[in-house]
Amino acid sequence: MSLLEVRDLTTSFQTGGGEVTAVENISFSLEKGEILGIVGESGSGKSVTALAIMGLLPRPPARILGGSIMFEGQDLLRLSDRSMQRLRGPGIAMVFQEPMTSLNPVFTIGEQIMETIGAHESLSQKDRFARAVEMLEKVGIPSATSRMTDYPHQLSGGQRQRVMLAIALVCRPKLLIADEPTTALDVTIQAQILSLLMDLRDEFGMAIMMITHNMGVIAETADRVLVMYAGRTVEQAPVGRLFDHPLHPYTRGLLSCVPTLDQDQDRLVAIPGSLPEPSRRPPGCRFSARCSYAVPACGESIPPLAMFEPGHAAACIRVRDIG
């Protein structure tokens, strides 16, 4: 049994212009200790998927239209609020992009970590303090005991993200959802945090859902990758295969449009157009309007996710033609 098994998840949002779907028929699974990278740009539905798993989608305006989210054999969509709350922390934890707004400015970081412990375990004040200090040391905060009494504004951005990790991991979750954990950080700090995440994965054996728009972060961390576009999965593959043989034109575009340090090119290979707004998605394949391989059939129906190699699936009717 997989640790997490998402089946045909479909959610929608009520907007001023009516109800629009945020994600459609998303399916994936995550094994113990595995890192699944979820790649997508704005409006791809990657964060909505994460919030749905956490049970944190604001309802309304959001609505879950169908599917199931099985975590260790129980369907999270059927859990009561109370049971879901108990699961957050020891079961599933999450770190967000913006470490400043994710920490409460009026409590010390020590209080915030200890509060999380207290919510799930009955430990004495002293034991909670010791656990918090131990966790801060694990995430690489120097002189942790004295930092316990610091307020969030006294920490740098990188340190705040470390504290967020400490809060997320203090109950030893089995699954960590990391939503763009390094996007707000500088590149040298990003390297530190990614390296820390990998070490913590090895130490705790937790699974990680690494949500990002950055293919570099995927290349550094992921075991398997799910590529999302405009609310649907367009490709799913083991990380090596995805980078060696991307099948979907969108994945190919993403990999080639970002200039890298180890290549020189006169012009970047750009993907034309822009991301469709949820209410104005084209019929059929949602990438068809921007795709250089598109044929009329692409606009007729949404291509199903089809398996081309073991573990490598893509939702494109032209995969065989474009080689």
């Binding site: 740098s156 590149v187 070490d199 972060v217 090596g240 970002v258 200039p259």
Partner: protein, 331 residues
Amino acid sequence: MAALLEAIGLVKHYDVEAGGFFRRTRTALRAVDGVDLTIRSGETLGLVGESGCGKSTLGRLLIRLIPATAGQVVFDGQEITGLSPKALRAARRAMQIVFQDPFGALNPRMSVEETIMEPLLIHGARRSAETRQAVTRMLDMVGLPDSTRYRFPHEFSGGQRQRIGIARALILRPKLVVCDEPVSALDVSVQAQIVNLLSDLQGELGLTYLFIAHDLGVVKHISTRVAVMYLGKVVEVADKRSLYARPSHPYTQALLASVPVTHPSQRKRGVGAQPVIAGDIPTALAPPSGCRFHTRCPHVMPVCRTDEPAMRPVGTGHDVACHLVAPGPPM
């Protein structure tokens, strides 16, 4: 190539008040702390560094969008730091800026036409068939259909807004354009379009760019030369090839090594592998003594803590401020 812009000893300090009710202390935030920089006519000078290093402030100082605390900027043979407000407004025609945030950079109550036309009106043109024609040409140049001219910013995507911002910056036919992180707020699939557009326009109009960014890949792609900033100082300047092939400052080396790999097979990390550089960026309110990088530098020596290294050439057009490449205090 001749210098289009030359900055000498440029400094920008902000007064920051801190402390309690009775004892207020004024500290200087040293955003830019003594920068010499040359931008050559027709080139793209990339300016990289992490947040808080002062790269955006430097960009705004160079076109005198904000006044400098000290130092000089000579633009096209004219000293612009001491210009009268009137002379400065005239000089601004030749220096324009493209911003990072495509949402904040356009006035939500002005149509595309009004936005692009405004610089012409500021410089004395009248709303006429001629100015409308100029807007048409700019829209065409940045790849927006002419029918968009009566629309308002909220109707456009981030990439399209950035095109409008570029059209506004170029309608006065400037010589120098400061591009302040022009693609970092855009979706990755749209970034390449804007980078290509900027390259095309540079060729077409003979523009000179100062390209500020934190993405080393984009900077490598678009720049002729690259300057690296750390805590208010330029620590290394070189031709693009030289800088990326032989980074000489330990900070530049660390920056390049921190960039994520492009293929999973290049992963360096195993269990216990250390990140390339430890520690956080110190605050610009109290920068470290001597070389500002010494608190994080893996090669730190005693002299680094006391003496500030001067810029020294390590190759043709490749200058570095580091005691490693020029041991001993500056002469």
